[in-house]
């Protein structure tokens, strides 16, 4: 049906959506990772109970953990492999969860359920439960519970708002899988016994709106671009004009059921193909991402693997470093040729994220001559090149972050892989595999010329690469001919830029890009997601994105005194008073905080904190108050 405009709701904020990073990237299957770690806590309720044993072979889609209680959901294996380990670990959000580690054995067997043709309502409900489908919008409420409401409902609302900045997974899904989403919605409607299906899509996705308009049984509502338009209560109000009461009231009490479009797609697959929920689309985006993508990712994939699949975190890819001494005639035309170092090196990981590269039998080449000086041996301890006879050291240390490197194998994989290729002209060293680094620290012992060969892969963001040095905190560029990598984002994959600088004085310098460093790594959207401390976490059913934000976008600011400006209350979509909550919470009076701030009705959208000019941590106060009130309530009982 032709799209109609949604109603207006008071409040909300308008953050820059920055969907341009990954909007145009089509859905893509990420190769199966070597190891997955699947948490048993995949839904809102109690964690599921593991039903597999260590050493057991599992197929893709095989049940590995059984639901425990009504709002818990089944968990399925996302790859074929062997159960390696079942252990408790701290998950990204800080809670302790039980993880089932499965090692991939390369097989592609599926353990899918039989497909259903023209299913009845009861069959669909059973199938949704058996496939372990939960709400993929974020909360992870089991869909089977949601479609068995206590009160009669007359409307199904599909949530295609995707109001979180950066995220585009639902956008791509709606574009590419329109028909499946519609079929899934029809199955849910059948299960619920409702006739009306409404889909709410934000106005910044006109292509999706156009895609859904041809379907006669779907009412398309164009929503104003605003955060949190995809909040359940807001969405129900703008699409139908109904208000959902305060908790514990559910949308079903107002006669509606809200489902995310991704959930509808999962339902369609579960019904038509018998596929369990073990993979989902997630967005990899942010200013520090090399190659923003929308990926089909298996449940329990390590964030590190996802980032690597997207060509790293936007840092520069260094192909080689060439150091030439100018002073001594002995060293004049001799280049350190790293290509020969490959076979016999060992690397150590130091505690401060630096790698030690040790090479025992490396050779030196004279310029223009491919015959190596076999009798010359250089030693390379920790990125430290030294010619034995002349005692003239060349240091370079490769620094990387925020990865945690555990063994030398990883160093080899991600840090330095040298090839046996011959020198190309003046290129003294060429790393065959890209070295993904944020910055290289180069300690120059004496005057010399350092040349770095750098490329940006399939990087779509603009970058510059140059030498710089730190004066305290200030970064000073010292290269004049800095390389502007991908100024128009169109450069081919294999372009290598040469940045060279003649250092006149000894000292420590750095080489790197200016915008590439991720300052914040987020699982989920930027408004409600969880900030990660490293990449060693695993995706959940509800993980909708992995974002690498740069300094400019994710600056952590110190709070200043509250001005009582009321800007948090003005934009609160739930019409609450966050400043009161914070005021009383800081004083330790949580009952008053809940009373005067209305905290218990809060949907934790984060709009107040976003809007606060004094940068107050309102969200923290609200969460604390909620937790304390829960404790108080527990005591009373």
């Amino acid at each position: 049906m032709k799209a109609v405009r949604g109603k207006y709701f008071f409040g909300g904020v308008h953050p820059n959506d920055r969907k341009y990073f990954s909007k145009a990237a089509p859905l893509e299957y990420m190769p199966e990772p070597e190891v997955v770690a699947i948490s048993t806590a995949q839904s809102l309720g109690r964690p599921a109970l593991p039903v597999v044993e260590i050493g057991q072979e599992v197929k893709r889609g095989e049940l590995i953990a059984k639901a425990d209680g009504p709002i818990s959901s089944d968990v399925f294996s996302s790859i074929c492999g062997m159960v390696e380990e079942i252990k408790e670990e701290i998950a990204a959000n800080g809670t302790v969860e039980k993880f089932i580690y499965i090692k991939n054995n390369g097989k592609t067997d599926n353990a899918h359920l039989p497909p259903l043709s023209s299913p009845t309502a009861e069959e669909i409900k059973a199938r949704i439960k058996d496939a372990g489908i939960v709400g993929l919008g974020g909360a992870g409420f089991p869909t089977a519970v949601k479609i068995s409401p206590r009160t009669p409902v007359d409307t199904l609302i599909l949530n295609g708002a995707e109001c979180e900045p950066y995220l585009t997974c639902d956008h791509r899904l709606m574009l590419e899988k329109t028909d499946e989403i519609v079929r899934g919605a029809r199955y849910i409607a059948t299960a619920l016994g409702v006739k009306t299906i409404i889909i709410g899509i934000e106005a910044n996705k006109p292509d999706c709106i156009a895609k859904f308009e041809p379907y006669d049984d779907i009412k398309v509502v164009m929503l104003k671009k605003k955060y949190p338009m995809g909040g359940e209560k807001q969405l129900v109000y703008v699409t139908t004009g109904r208000r959902i009461g305060l908790p514990p009231k559910l949308p079903a009490d107002s006669g509606v059921v809200v489902q995310n479009v991704a959930t509808a797609f999962a339902v369609c697959e579960a019904v038509e193909q018998g596929k369990q929920l073990y993979e989902r689309v997630l967005t990899v985006s942010g200013g520090a991402t090399a190659n923003p993508k929308n990926l089909w990712v298996k449940l329990g994939t390590k964030v590190q693997d996802i980032i690597d699949y997207c060509d790293g975190d936007g840092s520069l890819d260094v192909y080689g470093i060439d150091i030439t001494f100018d002073e001594s005639s002995v060293y004049k035309d001799i280049h350190f040729k790293a290509s020969e170092l490959y076979d016999n090196y060992s690397a150590e990981f130091d505690s401060d994220n630096t790698y030690t590269l040790k090479v025992d039998n490396a050779n030196l080449y004279s310029n223009g001559d491919d015959v190596p000086f076999k009798d010359v041996t250089i030693k390379v301890p920790v990125g430290y090149v030294k010619r034995d006879e002349k005692n003239s050291p060349i240091d370079y240390v490769v620094k990387k972050s925020p990865r945690k490197i555990e063994n030398t194998q990883t160093v080899m994989d991600y840090c330095v892989k040298l090839s046996g290729e011959a020198a190309i002209g003046q290129v003294g060293a060429k790393f065959n595999t890209k070295v993904m680094v944020n910055a290289i620290e180069i300690t120059v012992p004496t005057a010399c010329t350092v040349t770095v060969y750098v490329g940006s892969g399939k990087n779509k963001t603009k970058q510059t690469a140059n030498f710089y040095k730190f004066d305290g905190t200030l970064k000073t560029n010292i290269t004049k001919n800095k390389a502007n990598i991908n100024p128009d984002g169109s450069d081919a994959d294999d372009t290598i830029y040469v940045v060279s600088h003649k250092f006149k004085v000894a000292g420590t310098y750095y080489f790197g890009g200016e915008t590439a460093q991720p300052r914040k790594v987020i699982q989920g959207g930027p408004m409600t997601g969880v900030a990660l401390s490293n990449y060693d976490v695993y995706t959940h059913k509800t993980t909708s994105g992995v974002l690498l934000l740069t300094d400019a976008c994710a600056a952590a600011e110190n709070p200043t005194p509250c001005l009582n400006c009321g800007k948090c209350a003005d934009i609160c979509p739930m019409h609450l008073m966050p400043m009161n909550t914070e005021f009383y919470a800081l004083a330790g009076d949580y009952a008053a905080a809940a009373k005067y701030g209305g905290t218990l009705a809060c949907i934790e959208c984060g709009a107040c904190t976003y809007n606060c000019p004094a940068k107050r941590p309102l969200m923290q106060a609200i969460r604390r108050t909620k937790a304390e009130m829960r404790k108080l309530g527990g005591q009373k009982k």
Partner: protein, 357 residues
């Protein structure tokens, strides 16, 4: 050396690029037209026996400098700048600069602009010290003051130096000395006689020939500041309008009762609004974040009650009482905030269901 660490914090991870300092900077910019108008109209003040030059500039500089200096000195002492044989002095100074958010500059500018041109610099100095040290810093600094520092300073100065300096400050009943200045106070005519004086509404709007406090006379300059504040979303556009409308109607009503036995002259609507300090107070002083209610309902109560109170006090005291009204309303704000709480979204429905049961 290279900072490779990642930041971990609670969501949201993106923030609006708007800070307290930015907002206060916007208020300073919005006050500039009024300050320029003050310079133009009161550069030369002829008191008969002597002529004062550059009074607005002197007052502005005195007030702003004193306010900032008072805040600094207070901060310096409170943070132990003198302790440990003044070894911490440098650190404390840096700390102060880091937290300096232009609020004292705004206070200083407002104090200067609500002074009459005859006010002396030392009076402004005492008022500024009082405003920052006692009204603001004693209560905890930015965001913690109970009453508007500028309005309170004005009240203190009015009571302390009333007959000498404030005779001409838009004050109706003491007006005879107003004749000393060029042009009579329009407010006095309105309040005493119930009609507009020689000045037209246009004069009042532009501020030409109007006697009064230096920043309050030109409604045009204030309007420019108001539009700027609205565009920058510092204040809500409806707040001053609501205040002035309610105030204008209350004043018309009251003057109807007071002078012409139930004859309500709507043509007095604009003169009432434009006379005295109502416009300035509505745009720059009532809208002060710290001392106005936080929620929308509270704000409605605050502006309507303030407007009615201002009209009443003006008539029954015959004085320009905006500062007093602001002080009184400020003290009521915690009470308003406590009782004017918006119901959460979706609350109404639940209530109906309860009634049904």
């Amino acid at each position: 050396m290279i900072d490779n660490t990642v930041v971990i914090s609670t969501p949201p991870h993106v923030r609006k690029k708007r800070s307290t300092k930015g907002i206060m900077g916007d208020v300073c910019i919005a006050l500039i037209p009024a300050a320029i108008a003050a310079m133009i109209f009161f550069w030369k003040v002829d008191l008969g026996e002597k002529v004062l030059y550059a009074q607005p500039l002197i007052l502005l500089l005195t007030c702003v400098f004193t306010c900032v200096a008072t805040e600094f000195v207070y901060f310096f002492i409170a943070k132990g700048g003198f302790g440990n044989k003044c070894k911490n002095a440098g650190t404390v100074c840096k700390l102060w600069w880091k937290q300096f958010d232009l609020t004292s500059v705004v206070t200083g500018m407002i104090i200067a602009l609500i002074l009459p041109p005859t006010a002396m610099w030392y009076e402004a100095l005492i008022g500024s010290i009082f405003a920052i040290a006692i009204v603001k810093m004693f209560f905890g600094g930015t965001g913690k003051n109970l009453v508007n520092p500028a309005a309170t300073a004005r009240v203190v100065m009015f009571l302390s130096f009333s007959l000498t300096a404030y005779a001409a400050a838009n004050i109706g009943s003491l007006i005879d000395s107003g004749e000393v200045l060029t042009g009579a106070t329009n407010l006095s005519y309105l309040l005493k006689e119930g009609h507009v004086s020689k000045l037209s509404v246009l004069d009042l709007f532009l501020g030409t020939g109007v006697n009064g406090c230096i920043g309050e006379t030109s409604a045009l300059a204030i309007l420019i500041g108001y539009i700027y504040l609205c565009v920058r979303k510092v204040i809500k556009w409806w707040q001053p309008l609501l205040f002035l409308t309610v105030f204008g109607f209350s004043a018309v009503l009251l003057s109807g009762f007071y002078f012409d036995s139930y004859k309500f002259d709507i043509t007095l609507f604009l003169p009432h609004i434009l006379s005295g300090g109502a416009v300035f107070a509505a745009v720059f002083m009532f809208t002060d974040y710290v001392t106005s209610p936080k929620g929308v309902i509270g704000q409605l109560v605050y502006y309507i009650a303030g407007a009615v109170l201002l009209a009443l006090l003006r008539f029954f005291t015959g004085l320009e009482t905006a500062s007093f009204v602001i002080m009184i309303m400020n003290i009521l704000v915690p009470l308003i905030d406590r009782y004017c709480i918006r119901k959460p979204f979706g609350y109404v429905k639940e209530k109906k269901q309860k009634e049904g049961k």
